[in-house]
């Protein structure tokens, strides 16, 4: 599978999904006008990855800010990754948040509650 790499902007996060190493990185700010337009290629890539995943998949999420529609899209991404866990694959979601960013930590906790896959909250 090809590497999915999208450069971040002021309103969209940077994406680096590396199927070879099973590492998915999502970093930055997510406030696109049309969230689905931005996230659809990521869904498509993940759907293909789920068909032939690595034994271990690590998802690194480090967001500064995201709007409500992005929160739904992020959940859709994590739900897809959660499927891997349910299929017996080794999955780890790492949710990074900046020191003193309590809101982002709480958001991480909310996602953690909705997923079955192992989930780490990491303060940086």
């Amino acid at each position: 599978m090809e590497l999915l790499e999208i450069e971040g902007t002021n309103i969209t996060p940077s994406i680096k999904f590396d199927a070879e190493n099973g590492v998915l990185d999502l970093k930055g700010r997510s406030i696109p006008e049309n969230s689905l337009e931005f996230y659809q290629p990521i869904y498509n890539w993940l759907d293909s990855y789920i068909d032939s995943p690595k034994d271990k998949t690590v998802v690194n999420v480090h967001l500064d800010y995201f709007n409500t529609s992005s929160s739904k899209c992020i959940l859709d991404i994590l739900k897809r990754v959660d499927k891997l866990d349910q299929n017996g694959k080794d999955v780890l979601v790492k949710w990074y948040y900046d020191e003193n960013d309590e809101d982002m930590m709480e958001s991480g906790e909310d996602y953690m509650d909705l997923l079955e896959a192992p989930f780490e909250l990491i303060e940086i």
């Binding site: 049309n34 659809q40 409500t68 739904k72 959940l75 739900k79 809101d103 709480e106 909310d110």
Partner: protein, 183 residues
């Protein structure tokens, strides 16, 4: 073209998958001769989707509340910064107007001094010589000093009047600019 893009964007909805589920469910309901097993399957699938939708709703509500809280905080901070900025601007305007008032006052005082020297002093001197020269020899000098003293004492009131006038003009100018910006 733009209209088409707008329409296509409108069609793209983060709830696309949920809308598909709803559409499928409606289609199922409109079907006739459906077996009990099929109904159970459909209900099971619908219940799973509903579960997920409820999870999403909970998450989105929490995220939205947090965003609102963040916006409120940012608004408060912005209000405070705005007040600070306004105070600084007022102080700056006052200082600028004060400098201009001092300059104008100095010009006025110099003009008054020259006017006293050139125009007022000769008649004062003549008046003093005529009326007090016999009794009070230094009367011309004292009268001249008195006139200059009056000018010196009027320095601060003149400056205050000029400053108030300039401040009023500045306030009018700012008000006019604001109303033009609003238009």
């Amino acid at each position: 073209m733009e209209e088409q893009t707008r329409k296509s964007r409108k069609k793209q909805n983060v709830f696309n998958e949920e809308l598909i589920t709803l559409k499928n469910s409606r289609e199922f309901l409109s079907r006739e001769n459906v077996s009990l097993d099929e109904c159970k399957d459909e209900l099971g699938s619908l219940q799973k989707s509903y579960d997920e939708l409820l999870d999403q709703s909970k998450l989105i509500t929490k995220v939205s509340d947090r965003l609102q809280k963040k916006i409120n905080r940012a608004n408060d901070e912005l209000g405070e910064k705005n007040d600070q900025l306004q105070e600084s601007l007022d102080a700056l305007t006052k200082a600028r107007v004060g400098r201009r008032a001092t300059t104008i006052t100095l010009i006025v005082v110099i003009a008054l001094f020259l006017f006293t020297e050139a125009v007022l002093e000769p008649p004062i001197e003549r008046y003093a010589v005529r009326h007090f020269s016999g009794t009070f020899a230094s009367a011309p000098l004292i009268l001249a000093l008195l006139a200059k003293g009056v000018i010196a004492l009027s320095l601060r009131p003149i400056e205050k009047i000029v400053e108030n006038y300039l401040m009023k003009k500045e306030a009018e100018r700012i008000e006019l600019e604001r109303s033009q910006e609003m238009v």
